[in-house]
């Protein structure tokens, strides 16, 4: 390998990291740099410092330590047999890059991952060294997310948790069949074991902190994972089932979906089609329904078609509502919170406002209009003091009226 400067390495190692969807910098403890020696703060909600034209937010410096890898996973641009240019950062380079980006307010912190070089333990040790140096030498108080290596020594994972806000292990694919086919050297069992250990570590730490407030924090922003959608035969129904198992078993903060993306120098086993971005979006909506709207996973699955896929033209909540027309219209002045949350087009904030406002007086349609972005979408599904839909929820044409006309082309500018 020729000598590359930091910027040339950055071009390669950021390019190699971009298939990881996570960029969250939220959900950790509050910290400031006041009274410290360094820089950095976390105040609850994350900040997206920029947006790329792919619509993804740029919150963290998301890079690999190296894109060399001893594994040969078909979907991965960095697999052993891939012909991409390889590069490797030194620990010091990553530390300096993180600090100098942070000082200019480009980022919230670092999301560091790596290809496996040498042994899993060696690789994990390198990742931990970066986090440790940032925290202990430079007193960096921004956000750190480390990807952990499933086969690494638990002692190393424990160290990682002391310095990082969040740890993550990717389950990679929604089903074990998919994983066996596309990532033959990875084992679903080992990935699950690693996630279980991480959960135990996080739980133990919570107990310890309940007893001793001075106990050091362990991964205060919890663990997350990512699965690739569209690289194997898994249906949306499979994905929802898999995600809900992950949430309940391992106490994950987030499951990220990444629409499989054609990669340079791809393996022949893969479909080489543009990713169904809308599918990814629908899966996130389904994920939200389970996490914030009180839907059971089985109810989300109920919104899928015969082939187990969520409709692409309407959102899953609307799809569910159209299958359960008997439950509508919902009276916004009387219905319980759970039912208000089921109204298509009604978000959690709107529901909270409705609940608050209706304690004062009976709400009319124009009251609701002031609380939501689009009253037109809600009309067929709600009853207000001065409004009752004309059996619209039963109308056969309803579905068509709810579908937004497709834009034929994206605008260039």
């Amino acid at each position: 390998m020729s000598h590359l400067d930091t910027r040339a390495k950055l071009a390669i190692l950021a390019d190699a990291a971009k298939y990881d969807a996570s960029c969250a910098s939220s959900g950790t403890v509050k910290r400031t740099s006041i009274g410290g020696k360094g820089i950095g703060s976390t105040e609850g909600s994350g900040i997206c410092h920029s947006y790329a034209p792919d619509g993804r937010c740029i919150s963290l410096l998301k890079i690999l330590l190296t894109n060399s890898c001893i594994f040969d996973c078909h979907y991965c641009i960095n697999r052993k047999s891939s012909n991409v240019r390889r590069a490797r950062f030194t620990v010091d380079e990553v530390v300096r890059l993180t600090l100098s980006f942070y000082k200019r307010n480009y980022i919230e912190g670092l999301f560091l991952s790596s290809g496996i070089i040498g042994t899993p333990d060696y690789t994990m040790e390198q990742l931990v060294r970066v986090a440790k140096e940032l925290r202990t030498v430079h007193d960096f108080r921004g956000y750190i997310h480390l990807k952990t290596i499933p086969d690494a020594d638990p002692a190393l994972i424990e160290q990682a948790g002391l310095y990082a806000d969040r740890l993550s292990i990717n389950v990679e694919l929604p089903t074990e069949t998919g994983l066996n086919k596309l990532a033959p050297e990875k084992s679903a069992g080992r990935i699950r074991t690693a996630m279980r250990e991480l959960k135990a570590g996080i739980d133990d730490n919570r107990d310890a902190r309940a007893k001793y407030r001075s106990a050091p924090r362990f991964a205060p922003a919890g663990q997350s994972t990512q699965m690739i959608v569209g690289a194997d035969a898994a249906t949306d129904s499979d994905v929802v089932a898999s995600a809900s198992a992950l949430y309940s078993k391992f106490g994950l903060r987030r499951v990220y979906y990444s629409a499989f993306s054609p990669i340079p120098d791809a393996s022949a086993v893969l479909p080489l089609v543009r990713p169904p971005l809308m599918r990814e979006h629908r899966l996130y909506q389904a994920d939200w329904l389970v996490r914030f709207y009180g839907f059971a996973p089985s109810e989300v699955q109920d919104a899928t078609d015969g082939g187990g896929m969520l409709p692409l033209d309407i959102d899953p909540k609307t799809a569910w509502a159209l299958k359960h027309r008997d439950d509508f219209p919902v009276d916004i002045n009387r219905a319980p919170r759970e039912m208000l949350l089921r109204i298509p087009g009604m978000g959690v904030k709107t529901v909270n406002s409705v609940l608050r406002a209706r304690r004062q007086r009976r709400l009319r349609l124009d009251d609701l209009g002031r609380l939501t972005r689009s009253i037109e979408r809600l009309r067929p599904f709600v009853v207000a003091a001065d409004w009752r839909p004309l059996a619209l929820a039963e109308s056969a044409v309803l579905r068509r009226t709810l579908v937004k006309p497709e834009r034929s082309q994206l605008e260039l500018f």
Binding site: S50, Y51, V84, Y106, L371, L412
Partner: protein, 497 residues
Amino acid sequence: MERVVARSREPPGDDPVLTAVLARPDDIDGWRTVARRLAAGGVAGDTIVWQVGDTATDLLGGDVLPPGDAPMFTVPKEFLAVASRVICNRDAERFALLYTALTTLRTRPKLLDDPADPLVRRLYDLDKGVRRDVHKMRAFVRFRDVPDPEGERFAAWFEPEHHIVRLNAGFFARRFANMRWSILTPDECVHWDGELSFTPGATRADAPDGDALEETWRTYFASIFNPARLKVKAMTAEMPKKYWRNLPEASLVPGLIAGAAERTRMMIDAGDKAGMSNAAVQAGAGAWVRTGDGGPADALAELRDDAAQCKRCPLYGPATQTVFGEGPADAQLVFVGEQPGDNEDLAGRPFIGPAGQLFDRALAAAGIDRTRAYVTNAVKHFKFEQRGKRRIHSKPDTSEIDACRWWVDHERAAIRPAVTVALGATAARSLTGKAVTISRERGRPLTLADGSEAWITVHPSFLLRIEDKAAAALEFDRFVADLVAVRERLAALAGAG
């Protein structure tokens, strides 16, 4: 600080109009003190004029403050929290709206519990606007280092929508507690050196105009972008264009979008694997990593930096930036176009708009690799006429062409290409120094004053203007044929040399 005085003018009603003067546009404490007294005195909202700043000179009449011992009253905590943000909104009605809410609260203490009430809705919307602006400022401030013998120091230029500098100062102090920094804005500036201080508004010229690390940040931005998933609306929803001019990475966006389809196609193309990986690496990093071999590359880099300040003709005024040439310093082939268009002007790169995309197609059809050619323009600033919101291309005149010729000549002197191709009459004029009829000169080599070889052909935008499809296809083929002739000529020259 605040004063409440009566004007001599009599309003239509019986009450005199009161003018309440606040120290600053976000002066919540002043507003609170005045509003409390006025409300306790039962003063109606429509008889109060709220003013910011010291306007004592045009005020007549004396104090009509209600007695200082007016009964105190309480309001919900939430109202104070909301008011402290709403007052930062630039909406001129904010003081009056808050006052109306304050007086209404005395009879309807649960007013805020009714978010569907039009007044409450209005306040919440103003609040939301401020909170969003606060969030965007935290996101989009870009510090640049300021040379300082005492050590590291940073400054940023930011243009907030609302009066949020003070509201937001604490966040930056908590985050960058051990750094010396300033944020300059048109309204007010904030500085931190272990403690906060505020100074009056500044101009962009007072802020540093660059930082050596920005190129690295731009490299990161371009590399983390996945061209296989283009969601431009999702991006602009969260990063509206009004913020772009102060974001060093934003000028890359049009180019990344324009190149995305091509890069995805290259990824999917199952053909030449090695070539594909190289192309992917180039697409990810090549465009702005200088070769840095100390020779022509440095000369070009220097020229580019100088050209960025060019004021040789008046076109620099309305244009966004100088659009300098682009390509390897050792290119054997140089293309000279007319002038940057709307897209190029914003992105700072030549030939990326509609004509540039047609140019790319023609090059591909002729088997010429654009990344190995140097592409530039006869005139480096966008000349246009403003029509409504649109900027309509306007042809440069000879004085502008001749003024800019200085740059073209130096670019060619640094690169020393085997062949230079003039695209269109403006480029031909720039290279030859005289008016040229394209139809008569195209398709054969000419010798320039410096002894080098030039070819002349049409400008791609000429092809875009032909409405008849068949005629356009014919002209496109002729254009490609000219390019093929150039490619063959280059090969012959390389063989001979």
